[in-house]
Every structure is written in C-alpha cells, then in structure tokens.
C-alpha cells in the first residue's frame, strides 16, 4: 500500500511541476494546489499506513492508527486551502488590472 501511495505522490508532483512551469496563471495556481496535496499524501505515507483501530482508548484494540499524521494533514489542508483561495483572488485582481493572465507578459513591469 505504501508503494502505491508513493507512486501516487510522485505522479501528483509530476503533474504539479508540469502545471507550475506553464505560462497561464490559473494553471500555476492549480499546480500549487496539487503540489500541496502531494505533500499531504506524503506526510500520511511517511507516518506509516498502519492497519489498526481508531486512536481512542475505549476501543480496546490491539493496535491503534497513528493519529499524529492525520492531525498534521488536517492543519496543512486548511492552510493550503486558504493560500489557494488567496491566490485565486490575487490572480483575478491581477487579470482585471493588467488585462492578461500570461506570466510572460507580466514580466518587466517597472512602475506605473
């Protein structure tokens, strides 16, 4: 299972890098979103995908799943959503202001 997840993470990073390298602003933003989710999956995988009961003491199970990676990912997902939302608004405002979403054309602005 870990191997499968690692391959998935690598695949997501590949897609993210492809999107990040494109000229279109929206694609870059999508790339950053995919990249952060690849990081979340990696966090989950590296914590170990243990098969066990929910980490509650009342369960009386033999083994418990490690709760820490899930807590970390929950926090990281919230942050990545906030950043993605901010980036989308930023891209929209930039488009309104400059009239282009092509990163090549956004280069070399001196001052207004």
């Amino acid at each position: 299972m870990e191997t499968l997840m690692t391959i998935l993470v690598g695949f997501l990073v590949m897609i993210a890098v492809y999107l990040l390298l494109s000229r279109n602003l929206i694609r870059v933003i999508l790339g950053t979103a995919v990249l952060s989710h690849a990081a979340h999956l990696l966090l989950m995988t590296m914590g170990g995908l243990k098969k066990g009961s929910a980490p509650l003491l009342g369960e009386n199970a033999e083994s418990y799943t490690d709760a820490l990676p899930q807590a970390l990912i929950l926090t990281a997902i919230v942050i990545s959503f906030a950043v993605t939302a901010f980036l989308l608004v930023l891209a929209y405002r930039t488009y309104k202001k400059t009239g282009t979403d092509n990163l090549q054309e956004l280069r070399g602005f001196e001052d207004e």
Partner: protein, 494 residues
Amino acid sequence: MNNIIAMPMIIPLLTGIILVFLRHYTKTQRVLSILSSIATVAVSLVILYQIQQEGILRLDFGGWIPPYGILFVADSFSMLLVVTTSIVTGILLIYAFSSIGQQFEHMFFYPFVFFLVAGVNGSFLTGDLFNLFVCFEVMLLSSYVLITMGGRKVQLIESIKYVTINVLSSWFFLMGIAYLYGTIGTLNMAHLSVRIAEVGQGPLLTVISLIFLIVFSLKAGLLLYFWLPGSYSAPPTVIAALFGALLTKVGMYALFRVFTLIFYHEPIITHTAIGVMAILTMIGGSVGALAYNDIRKIVSYNVVIAVGFILAGLAISSEIAFQGAIFYLIHDMIVKALLFLLAGTMIYLTGKTKIEEMSGLIRNYPALGWLFFITMLSLAGIPPLSGFIGKVFIGQGAIESGSFALLIVAFASGISVLYSLLRIFLNCFWGETIINEDDDVPLKKGMLVPCILFAIMTVAIGIGVEGLAPYVSDAARTLMNPEIYIEAVLQGNR
C-alpha cells in the same frame, strides 16, 4: 505552568481579531494597537527577565508532557528576538499613523500587522517543527495580504512571484517534516535532537537537513534571495519596513535553531554549505546594492547582505560567533526598519525613486539627513553604534576558527554596504537643492519621530552593550550547548 509565555503570541492575535470589528473607527484602532504593542513589549521583557532567574521556560498546552504535546519554549535567544520584534512593530505603527492613509486603515491594515506579529512571535517561541510550519504560514498569509494591499499593478505582479515561491517552499517544508517524521518518529525539536544523537546523523538525515536548509534559506533570503528585492520594494513604506525588519529574521532564527539544536553532527557538510551560501549571498547582495540606482532596490539588497553576514556567524559556529550573530540580528532588525523608513520618507518628500533625481535634501530637511548619516555609520559598524559589536564578535570567531574566506568577504561586504549608502547620501542629500521653497513638502512630525526613536535605539544599544551582554551570552551559551535546551524541555517538571 508558565502561561505568560504564550502572551507574546496571544496578545497580538486577540488585538488583531478585535480590530477586525473596528475597521471604521480609525482613532480606536490606533489607540488599541499602540496599547497592545506596549503590553506585548512589557510581557516579553518580563519573560526575558524570568529566564535569567529560572532558566529556560516552557508551556505544555493542555498539560501534555513533552514529547507528546504541543509546547512553547522560551529561551534567551528567542525572547531577545521577540522583544525586538515587539518594539520595532510598535515604533513602525507610529509611522503608519501619519503615512498609511485612511484607505488602508479601513481595509484591515492594523489587524494584519498584528496577525503578522503573532506569526513571527509564534515562530520564535514554538518548540516543535510542525508548529513552526503553522506559525510560518500565519505570518506568510498576513504578509501576502499586506504586500497586495492597495492593489497597485506592481504590487500585484510582484506578489504573484512572492506567493508562488512561498507556496513552493512550504511544500519543501512539509516534505522535510514528512521525511523526518518517517525516519525519526517525532517532531518535538528537543526530542529530535536526542534521537538523532542516539542513532547518529547518517547520510539520510543529512539529506533531510539539507531540505530544511533549502526551506529556511528561501524564507531567510540566504542565496535564494531572488524574490526579495522585487517584493520588498513594491508595497508602501511601512509595510516594506516591517518586512525588511522581521520576515527574513524568522528564517534566520529557524536556521539557527535547526542547525544548532538538531542537525549539528555533520558540520563539514551542513555548516560548510551554509558558509558557502553566506559568502555567495554577501557577494550577490553587494553587487545588487551597487548596481541599482533605485533607492528601494539598494535598500532591499542591503537586507540580503545582512542575511549573509549573520549566517556567517552560524557557519563559524563558535560561542563568540553566535554572540556576534545575535547582537547583529538585534541591531539589524532596528536599523533596517530605520533605513526602510528613511528611504520611504525620501521618496514621499520628493516623489522620485532614482538617486540621480534627488539632490540637496539636507538643506530642506536637516534632521532627515543626519538620521540617514547615523544609519549609514551604524550599518557600516562604526564603534559607538550598534553594528560594531556584532561585527567584532563575528570577526573574532572567524579568526579563532580560521575561516578567513568568510572573514574577508564579511568585511568586504561591510565596505560595499557603506559605499552603496554613501552613494545615496552624496546624491540625495549633498549638492544643490532642486526643491524650491514653494513646493517644499513639509516633513510630518509623525514620520520623523519614529525615525528618531529608532536612531536613539541604535545609539543606546551601541553604548549600552554591557546591559545587553548577559542576555546575549546566555543565548549564545544555549545555542552552543544544546543539552541545556533539551534538559529544560524533556526533564524539567515545571
């Protein structure tokens, strides 16, 4: 329990939340923000004093004993930076009152400044890596908002680069955390240090440490500073000053923490890498500072040079060099804020940004000219001012450990700092005045007073080094001997 430790983060956070609801009441916002800054400074000073009395303090949230819970740790190093952060923010707020304008004040300027400070203070205080990430993000999100505030075209374009680079570095950070948790199985910094000392820092852990080096270098502007000059010259003066004074320092703090507490076993790889990067940073920063004739760019590249200089102290890695680096960090936060304010004020007064377009400002604004002169001397490290002692200690450390390349580049970079600022001074303040008396823009008191306060602080630190020295030497001792930190976190039963 020492609940007081959480205060430097909680007070700005609560103030920020309250100020969100008061957006239309400008006066109330100003009064509240000043009161809150004073409270933060007072609380931080109390904590700094307590650390000298009782040793390193810690706060386990929810009573979870480390290494299981989330915790805040306050040692002299982090508290010195928290105190400086709080003071610098307070003084910058005074400048903001007279310069930022109604539009910004109604668009949540003060709340986001406080969220930024909460993030910065949180990063200094936290005791585990994941909360360092969270506090970094709190700080970065506020900085994204502040950098785009106003929505000028340049700001929007520069902030796209800034945000994208930071998302990428956050990805690296998460990746580092994931690998570290996978190999070591803990994220508490003291516990990490113990476990790595037990198993030895093998090649795998060294690679992970290099991931952290990349992450924090991106945040601190060590070698990977390409995003810095553009984004620091785009926003309004106060915000640029806040960034120049605080943001890179957090990255540097993280580098110091990680490479003195956790990954200190392979200095030949990691610390050499930091040394080489510091040298390249100083050279690159010097080239940039000398190449541009836009005041904002020159000032931004000065931030880069300082980053290289301070991290030279980390690369040398001896107690005296750490002392120098800490002195220089404190000095740099104050003087960089002052430098950004002065540059911004000059641009406000003349409406120009290029140094050739200004001339003879000292005739119209003598106080501003002298303040700039003091700043220049302080940054160059002339004795009675605050930059001197840091340079001496880092130099001494470099000589003792025989790292002469670092020594030469560090002091040569000092000369280029002096030259780049001298260029501004000669072009803008000397010579024939080009402003006739009719369109002489008055220099507001509210802009001059904060600059004078900063100037007084740099002189006071320079003269009163004796008073600061015990705190700094305690901080350097803790950095040099990680056992002190580990013992305080893992064994104390406070």
